[in-house]
Amino acid sequence: MDGTDEQLINLYNQGDTGALDTLVERYKRPLYSFLWRLTGSKTDADEIFQDTWLRVIQKAGDFQQNRFRGWVFKIAHNLVIDRSRLKGRTVSLDAPAGNSENDGTLGDLLQDGRTRGADEQAYHRDIRRDIEKALVQLPKEQSSVFVMRMTLDMTFREIAELQGITLNAALGRMQSALAKMRDLLREHQPE
């Protein structure tokens, strides 16, 4: 089924259930990978993915926004935050950026990995796993900005609007995420 996301949700509101199937199919990979990267758990990602769409179905009649993508990711993001608060995993909303003693950058760490002689593919796979592990340990408010920007290619303005924060706050969260990830990756790097 063709059409923009907004046209599809309007069709669904008029009784065309196939329109929602198309939306689910369209967002299956980006939304699920977003949840999987934030939670680090298939079970959590599955549950939040399901809850997100159940909420979309429940609130479809209220949809009045310009962009469906922002709306659906906002729902998913809020559910992740709620769940992490429930589990007490979030360290702090805007904790200060990483270790000030750290004198390296992620770029250095990534370059160091290459010089260890591992082949390119294996290297990327290993470092990606480290990044994914590090992401799960970040406060969700920071990791969600990181994932939205780095893997979903959302703009900071879009992220700020979606998370209900200012542009500067979104940029600050990204900086904090990068700094903390640098520290966490350093811990994961072999001596």
């Binding site: 259930t17 299956k28 399901q50 009649g61 950058t105 990606r128 780095m150």
Partner: protein, 167 residues
């Protein structure tokens, strides 16, 4: 400009949101600051690494997708059916009103019938007591009950039995 502000500009440049006025201070700072140049490298390396991820196998379970599909096919709680088929709303409203009115009428009728039946039973009992014992007090009670029954019957628009007058 402080490094912190410049790093915000680096992030905005990376996302394509930097303005023309912000480009010049950024370029000037980057020439002089190795830390801020490193952030640019960092972002590029991260994106390259994350971009190699094969997400094709990262998908929700079939059960989850089925649950969503089933939920999507349930009648929409607010919108679908009454907008799509307004005649159903009218029909449902009419049926509900008819049921309510019928219910009220039945309740009133049952109430009246049960009142009459109770009074009539007591009347018969007292009548028997009165006849057997020829008691003055009982006879007085009987008269009062008889009057009550007559009033109730009149109130419910049911003609009083001529038998009641004979007693």
């Amino acid at each position: 400009m402080h490094c912190n502000e410049i790093q915000n500009l680096i992030l905005l440049e990376d996302s394509g949101e930097i303005t023309a006025g912000q480009r010049q201070p950024l370029a000037g700072h980057l020439e002089a600051c190795a830390d801020c140049r490193a952030l640019k490298t960092e972002l590029a390396s991260l994106r390259q690494t994350l971009g190699t991820a094969d997400l094709s196998r990262i998908t929700p379970s079939r059960k989850v997708l089925e649950t969503i599909q089933t939920a999507a096919r349930k009648p929409h709680p607010r919108f679908h059916w009454h907008l799509a088929q307004p005649w159903k709303v009218a029909l449902a409203t009419a049926a509900s009103l008819t049921l309510c009115l019928t219910g009220v009428q039945v309740m009133n009728s049952r109430q009246a019938t049960s009142n009459i039946e109770a009074l009539a039973e007591q009347l018969v009992i007292l009548q028997e007591e009165n006849l057997n014992a020829a008691d003055d007090v009982a006879a007085e009670d009987f008269t009062l009950l008889e009057d009550g029954l007559t009033t109730t019957l009149r109130g419910n628009s049911i003609p009083a039995s001529p038998r009641g007058k004979d007693v």
